[in-house]
């Protein structure tokens, strides 16, 4: 018999908090697989520390201890020297999902709002342990320290303070301690160690000391003393907004007129442009933002596409820089040769600005050690963050592999001791999938990746050529000394004559060969 709707709903309907939801769907936070889960944790914590320190104008320094206390069971201690978290924000930062820094159109390292609280959720789900936090902040010049022990109340999506005490701290910064089970520390390309190593190449201004579970202490020293400038918020470019964006803006703006909302919320939007827009669409832009209808927003977006605008401002993009990349590579890879390039800003999809940087390192510890042979490795970065998964489909991989490396004197890319570094910088990196681990092959981005890689490859080629030439010179002289006497003897035997003196001939050809190698013209 058919049942009534109201009964069914009264029995079975409920609302979930974000924490409850992700407790059931942790793979949506990237936590799938033991190795990957731990790498994601490192990523979230390091990224947060870097962002916090840089925003406060501090050179980042992080100390990480990872202890293994059982099979797939670890304790992670992560300490930074950032500005610290004010006491009242601590529960939110660590125990509320979807809480974090504001969404802004800004070049940013990570996802927003899921990072730290996601790690706490994973810890609590696998071990039931609370998170321990020590935060040191400076308030009006005075150093304050607080130590807390917190649990996440999943049903309420908020933190539950278990313990709290004032402590003495030596400086500002956050130290957190988390327990994990069902994760695994690995030295593989997808593992936590490699994540740190790559992070250090792209962030030579940082210092990380890492004590691994086997008792090894790795000190990644700072190769540069310059705090990278803070990326500025950039207003969206008219070519990059959707109707939904305009309506969303209109709903939350404080401006009284739609026209003033446009000029203050979009870049490259002058009064002249507003007038042009008004003529093109026939819409009265003097109306209040709240009165803007969807159809009108759609017409405005259509009109934007037909209008000419200056390219979007690129002041918001902060590349690592050629010198800094080189410093990073030299520090970490100790290579025989490096070359780096930072390209000029370009745009994709009509209006989104981006910058591509590339570096190449040859010899030394460059490349990936397979058995006792070093093979080429590709290090992919987006806004200085290493991309470790889904390499196959990434624009960086595709761009690099599509080059004809033979043209750069590298016969077999795979088995050359080479590290190729590419960093894509943008306020809006087009990721291919949820996990933000690979970059979509937008034609303009692919083009820039190829260009940048070609530039550094060409410099490597020059170096390799010079090296080879020196070796050849010696070889050639040896060839002549071996064969000339033999040939003269055989010619004499054939002609049934005496062999002539050939010392002059030998001198001549040896000297000639030397000039040839140097590429100088031969005057005979």
């Amino acid at each position: 018999m058919a049942r009534q709707a109201l009964d069914l709903f009264d029995e079975g309907f409920q609302e979930l908090t974000p924490s409850e939801f992700f407790r059931k769907n942790k793979q949506m936070l990237g936590f799938s697989g033991k190795i990957r889960s731990l790498t994601i944790v490192f990523h979230e914590l390091i990224t947060n520390s870097f962002d916090a320190a840089e925003e406060a104008g501090i050179l980042p320094e992080i100390k990480i201890d990872l202890k293994r206390v059982g099979k797939d069971h670890y304790i992670l201690r992560h300490q930074d020297n950032g500005p610290g978290i004010p006491e009242k924000y601590i529960p939110k930062v660590f125990c509320t999902m979807f809480a974090g820094s504001k969404f802004r159109n800004i070049q940013s390292r990570g996802q927003q709002g899921l990072g730290c609280s996601g790690c706490v959720l994973l810890s609590q789900m696998t071990t039931g342990k609370p998170v321990k936090v020590i935060s040191g902040t400076r308030e009006n010049g005075e150093l304050r320290g607080v130590k807390m022990s917190l649990k996440m109340d999943v049903k309420k999506n908020q933190g539950l303070i278990l313990e709290r005490e004032d402590v003495e701290v030596e400086g500002t910064g956050v130290c957190i301690e988390l327990h994990f089970k069902d994760v695994s520390y690995s030295l593989s390309e997808q593992g936590a160690y490699e994540y740190i190593r790559r992070t250090m190449i792209a962030n030579p201004h940082a210092k990380i000391v890492f004590n691994d579970p086997a008792g090894n202490r790795y000190v990644f020293n700072r190769a540069s003393d310059i705090v990278p400038p803070l990326p500025k918020e950039v207003l969206p470019h008219p070519w990059g907004v959707t109707a939904d964006d305009l309506i969303f803006m209109a709903k939350h703006t404080e401006k009284r007129r739609f026209r003033s909302m446009l000029t203050s919320n979009l870049s490259r939007m002058s009064a002249k442009k507003v007038k042009e827009l008004e003529e093109l669409t026939g819409i009265d832009l003097n109306k209040r933002p709240k009165d803007m209808k969807w159809e009108e927003a759609e017409r405005i977006v259509e009109a934007f596409k037909k209008m000419n605008f200056m390219a979007p401002p690129t002041s918001g993009l902060i590349p690592i820089g050629e010198d800094q990349i080189e410093k990073g590579m030299r520090e970490i890879l100790d290579p025989e040769f490096t070359a780096t390039v930072t390209r000029k800003p370009k745009t994709y999809r009509g209006g989104i600005a981006f910058i591509v940087e590339a570096g190449i390192a040859y010899g030394g510890n460059s490349g990936r050690l397979v058995g006792d042979q070093r093979k080429a490795e590709i290090m992919r970065f987006a806004n200085r963050v290493p991309l470790t998964f889904d390499a196959g489909s990434c624009a960086i991989t595709e761009g690099i592999k599509s080059l004809d490396w033979k043209r750069y004197g590298i016969r077999d890319l795979e088995s050359t001791p080479l590290t190729i570094f590419v960093n894509v910088v943008s306020t809006n990196v087009p990721y291919l999938s949820t996990g933000k681990q690979s970059i979509a092959p937008e034609p303009e981005i692919l083009h820039e990746i190829r260009q940048a890689t070609m530039i550094v490859a060409r410099k490597l080629q020059k170096y390799l050529r010079k090296k080879k030439a020196a070796k050849e010179e010696a070889q050639r002289a040896r060839v002549f000394e071996t064969y000339v006497p033999v040939i003269i003897k055989q010619a004499a035997l054939l002609a049934e004559r005496e062999a002539p003196d050939y010392r002059e001939l030998l001198d001549k050809v040896t000297r000639r060969a030397k000039l040839e190698i140097l590429g100088e013209s031969l005057n005979e």
Binding site: R476, V479, F480, Y483, V484, V486, I487, I488, Q490, A491, A492, L493, L494, A495, E496, R497, A499, P500, Y502, E504, L505, K508, V509, R512, A513
Partner: protein, 353 residues
Amino acid sequence: MNRREIAINKLKSLGDMILEDVQAGKIPKIKVPSRGTSNIIYDENRRHYVLGDRYGTRSLGNVKQIKKIGQMLYTANFCKDLVARQKTATLRELYYISEGWEVDFADQQESNIVGEDLEVTLGMTREDLGLMPEEDGASVYGELTVREGDIEINALRSGKSGYNISPTIDEVEFVDHDVERVIAVETMGMFHRLVQEKAYKKFDALIVGLKGQAARATRRFIKRVNEELNLPVYICNDGDPWGFHIAMVIISGSAKLAHVNHQLATPDARFLGVTASDIINYDLPTDPLKDIDVLRLKELLKDPRYRDDFWKVEIKKMLKIGKKAEQQSFSKYGLEYVVDTYLPEKLEAVENQ
């Protein structure tokens, strides 16, 4: 001067040239006529491929070429010795002999190339230089008497497989014959059929069993009987691109051996093998053309050696019907048919043209 003396003189002059350059204070160079495709030219008058006048240089001052010069001179001395002692050696033996040299060959390929370099540089055939191919020549059956040294051989009295052409065919002398033509066939199956059906008697012919692509010695033999004995030559092959080409290499020489075609090609020889027209007229059992056959036939259409109307028509017809046939397919009509009916009809048509 006989061939042997000419060879020795030419070899000596190679050594002379080098020594003279050294004494004149020049860096010795050897000019080696190029065997690249762009230097292989079809000679309309001679009706076969010849080498053009482009050449490469082996300079003693070039680090890549100097080893080749050394190998060439060693090989020249080895050949001079062979010719002087009236011996021959195979290319394989040349390769092994080089073990004792100060510039040995890395592999057989390398020694083959140097051997060929020497041929074209001196304008001599390898046989003249004592370097014999391993491959055996064709079988010959019919009323022909030859002399090898002090031995006379009659090709009608050498057994059912006939007289075997040896690589040293140039040292063979034609003593006597009583035939009016030469009929060469592609396979030994057809050779034995012709011998069994007494085709040598019926057509007053020398029967030559080519055994597929004709060896250098066979081509030299055919050229000599054609020119020295004034015998017309008919080549009777399978009706497919490979049969055509085996015949054509006998007639007009190959591109690869452009430097010796003047000694090997028999431009007056005639193709008497299975044609596309035969396939239709005699309703022969066929196989469909394979992709590679079609490709090959299309290549032949562009080849200057096939520019005669006869070839153009037959090749296009074969492409159209899409079929090929072997000589032995005539046995559909009985074993004797090929000798009793087909060959007489073809010979009459060709000789009365």
